[in-house]
């Protein structure tokens, strides 16, 4: 969708959230336009399921609206808080996915797309990556996704997960190792034998 220019550009997220809590409807629109794309992207990268990712994004934003009256400006950044909430909501959904869901939920591209096979292969790989994350312990899945899917630094992840930087390093290292082993079993299926 085309998002209108932010009339509140330059105002911190936290100040907008407090303005929203005080009844400023425009603050909510500005926050949604600013935050929702990133929230949806994080959920999609972890789940690779459009409907589930949209539900998570809506749920995360709903929680933000609810927490607004109790938000203390010096307590945390809205972006940090949202990363945590989305990661938790996604691992909840990944946990339910354990036990095996076939790859039939991968979105199929339109038939007249120029590289249908390539798009389907990419979609299958992304879904396989998401299913691989679902096999990891939840804290490892969160740390790996924040580090390697969101590209955040270890200190940022430590703040989001409320753990030490050393713990983040340990979680990401073990999680990535385990994920590599899981994905290794699907190399041929995902078309990597010829690469």
């Amino acid at each position: 969708m085309s998002i209108a220019p932010d009339p509140d550009a330059g105002i911190p997220d936290e100040a907008l959230l407090i303005a929203f809590a005080n009844g400023d409807a425009q603050a909510a629109r500005s926050l949604a336009a600013r935050l929702l794309p990133r929230v949806l992207a994080q959920a999609t990268r972890m789940l690779f399921d459009r409907a589930e990712a949209e539900d998570v994004a809506q749920d995360a934003m709903m929680r933000l609206w609810k927490v607004a009256p109790d938000w203390r400006q010096d307590e945390a950044q809205v972006s940090t808080w949202l990363y945590r909430v989305v990661a938790n909501l996604c691992t909840d959904r990944l946990r339910k996915r354990r036990g095996g869901v076939p790859l039939d939920q991968v979105a199929e591209p339109a038939d007249d797309a120029p590289s249908v096979a390539a798009q389907m292969q990419t979609a299958a790989r992304m879904r396989a990556l998401s299913d691989g994350l679902a096999q990891l312990p939840e804290r490892q899945a969160q740390a790996v996704s924040l580090r390697h899917l969101e590209g955040l630094s270890n200190p940022e992840i430590a703040q989001i997960m409320d753990i030490s930087v050393r713990s983040v390093e340990s979680l990401t290292a073990r999680g990535k190792r385990a994920l590599a082993d899981i994905m290794a079993g699907r190399r041929a299926e995902l078309g990597y034998e010829d690469d």
Binding site: A21, T44, E54, A57, Q58, M62, W65, L129, Y192
Partner: protein
């Protein structure tokens, strides 16, 4: 020269592809999110105190106004009863009503018992 693990390379490639994902926000999703954006009540809002609770019980300020008016009217009727009221009480009870609740002689009788 450092050898790289092909599985690590595959995973790094998958991570890089995943980071490219940036789905557009549909109008439908934005509408869903904004419909939810109703400012909730502050949890630390002042709770109603005793007097405001009492006010609610009796029916608000308009009821208080009626109560004060009735109280003042009753007080004034007691201080300066209109002739209609005195005529009514005279007709009901007689012109003068005297009620004896006790007597000095009765108290003296008690005193006599103590002496005896």
């Amino acid at each position: 020269m450092k050898m790289t693990d092909p599985n690590d390379d595959m995973l790094d490639g998958l991570f890089a592809q995943a980071r490219e994902i940036a789905p557009p926000v549909s109008d439908r999703l934005m509408d869903r999110v904004l419909v939810d954006a109703v400012p909730p009540q502050r949890h630390n809002a002042a709770r109603p105190g005793f007097w405001s609770g009492l006010l609610d019980v009796v029916g608000g300020w308009s009821a208080i106004g009626g109560l004060v008016t009735a109280m003042l009217a009753g007080f004034w009727i007691g201080v300066a009863p209109p002739s209609a009221v005195t005529d009514f009480t005279a007709g009901l009870l007689g012109d003068t009503v005297t009620v004896h609740l006790g007597s000095a002689s009765g108290l003296a009788d008690f005193g006599g018992l103590e002496d005896g």
